[in-house]
């Protein structure tokens, strides 16, 4: 991604390139790092009709695709109705699932659809390591889903792995699982959001592990990352992607009741831009003072003079916020060794202390 385009992206786009839409917080699992602390459904979730109206808006705004998640999105009875409505309107869908609802019939139905990606979440290379994070039986249900998708001829599902202290030690094993099922590996950064606030201190990879992860990813353009490791790009050649925080600039999140947040990792009132039941989504996207403040920001003040600023643009806003840092601080896992976790690169333990009460967002610091 060249600098000129990134500057354009920093100033915000007319519409998101993509957005995350969590259609339910209901979930049959209780993963220890769940970004949205999912479990129970909200009684006031968007209805099927409201969901279709929102998809119409996505189409009108030429939003290229939506990342549908939750919760477990497939527990909604209208799940297929929603994704089929989106894809037939040429709004691409990528949905994340634990795989529990992908039986043989479901796999065949998914395989028949265009503009669709399926991401099966796996967080360990074997049952023991995966189920320690995702719960008993989770590994088996994910593998069964992959098997059903393969049998149905689904083209290249994704295996979505959160980088943890354990999983980064078994990347080759995870890649082997992906290859066995004709899938593509996707590795994303652990964020201290939702239940991740509680698990971040023992799951977040150490600095040494993050450096090794960067080396591993650098040789593998076939592994997807969701553009989530841009804080590591100063270590060498930039990883594929924008290499900047896209929150409120090129992406956002819509939650099950229509609240719009800056990104999937900032489910907090300080990052809420509005609700689509109260205000048109395009108006929220284009006119939110919160999103405007992000678009006017050059970057964290403590980073803009850094020699590596062009590579990482100051790192992940959500990770700073939920670890109690100022948004003007470096990313806690700063690859230049300036972050709270990375000052001692030889340390085997994360140094950061989790703040259960994140500081209030100071918008003036964003400018």
């Amino acid at each position: 991604m060249n600098g000129e385009l990134r500057d354009q992206m920093r100033r915000g786009l007319a519409s998101p390139i993509c957005l995350t839409w969590e259609i339910t917080y209901g979930c049959n699992l209780s993963c220890v790092h769940c970004l949205s602390s999912s479990g129970k459904r909200r009684p006031d979730e968007l209805t099927t009709a409201e969901s279709k109206t929102l998809i119409d808006r996505f189409r009108e705004m030429s939003i290229f695709y939506v990342n549908i998640g939750g919760g477990e999105p497939m527990i909604r009875r209208d799940f297929f109705e929603i994704i089929e409505y989106a894809t037939t309107n040429r709004v691409g869908v990528k949905f994340s699932t634990n795989g529990s609802r992908i039986d043989k019939d479901g796999a065949r139905r998914l395989a028949a659809m265009d503009y669709l990606d399926v991401q099966i979440s796996i967080d360990g290379h074997d049952r023991e390591s995966n189920d320690a994070i995702r719960g008993d039986g989770a590994f088996e249900m994910a593998i069964r889903a992959l098997s059903n998708l393969k049998e149905a001829g689904f083209d290249t599902p994704k295996i979505s792995v959160v980088a943890t202290r354990d999983s980064v030690e078994h990347l080759d094993g995870l890649d082997a699982i992906a290859k066995e099922y004709g899938a593509q590996l996707r590795i994303t950064r652990l964020r201290p959001s939702g239940r991740g606030v509680d698990s971040y201190s023992y799951l977040n990879p150490t600095s040494n592990q993050q450096h090794r992860l960067y080396q591993w990813l650098s040789g593998r353009s076939d592994v997807l990352t969701g553009d989530s490791f841009f804080h590591l790009s100063p270590l060498g050649e930039p990883l594929d992607g924008l290499n900047m925080c896209g929150a409120g600039r090129v992406v956002c999140l819509i939650d099950p009741v229509g609240d719009v947040y800056a990104c999937p990792f900032t489910i907090d009132d300080n990052f809420k831009a509005g609700n689509i039941r109260d205000r048109d989504f395009e108006e929220i996207w284009q006119g939110s003072p919160l999103f405007q403040s992000f678009r006017e920001t050059e970057g964290p003040t403590s980073c803009t003079n850094c020699s590596a600023f062009a590579a990482c643009n100051g790192g992940c806003m959500a990770t700073k916020y939920f670890t109690g840092l100022s948004l003007d601080d470096p990313d806690p896992d700063c690859a230049k060794g300036l972050g709270a976790n990375s000052k001692d690169l030889q340390s085997n333990t994360a140094l950061i202390t989790i703040s259960r009460r994140p500081q209030r967002l100071e918008l003036s610091h964003q400018r």
Binding site: Q8, L13, A14, E60, S62, F64, R90, Y115
Partner: protein, 97 residues
């Protein structure tokens, strides 16, 4: 021949030009040249024949040769296609731009 956007691509106008999204590769492409953006803006509104594109006032600043070359490039990349192998654009696709 009626020219329209391929079913494999989506396009939208942006302040700096335009953005393509390739549904097959999941890649984002940037349209920066003025002539490409003008041609895409026209075709995104409704399928048009080559003659209609060449004669459209929106392209008055460009020579027929450069317009044809742009169309050829977009066709070669699979972004534009003849209507027989494409899907119709959603009716409101560009109204928000």
């Amino acid at each position: 021949m009626t020219i329209t956007i391929s079913k494999d691509f989506s396009y939208r106008k942006e302040e700096f030009g335009g953005l393509f999204y390739n549904f097959n590769t999941r890649q984002l492409l940037l349209a920066k040249s003025k002539i490409t953006v003008k041609v895409m803006d026209l075709v995104a509104t409704s399928p048009l024949s080559k003659a209609e594109i060449l004669s459209d006032q929106a392209l008055d600043d460009f020579t027929p040769q450069s317009i044809e070359a742009t169309l050829d490039q977009l066709m070669a990349k699979g972004i534009l296609t003849d209507q027989d192998t494409s899907v119709e654009c959603p009716p409101n696709k560009e109204t928000s731009q």
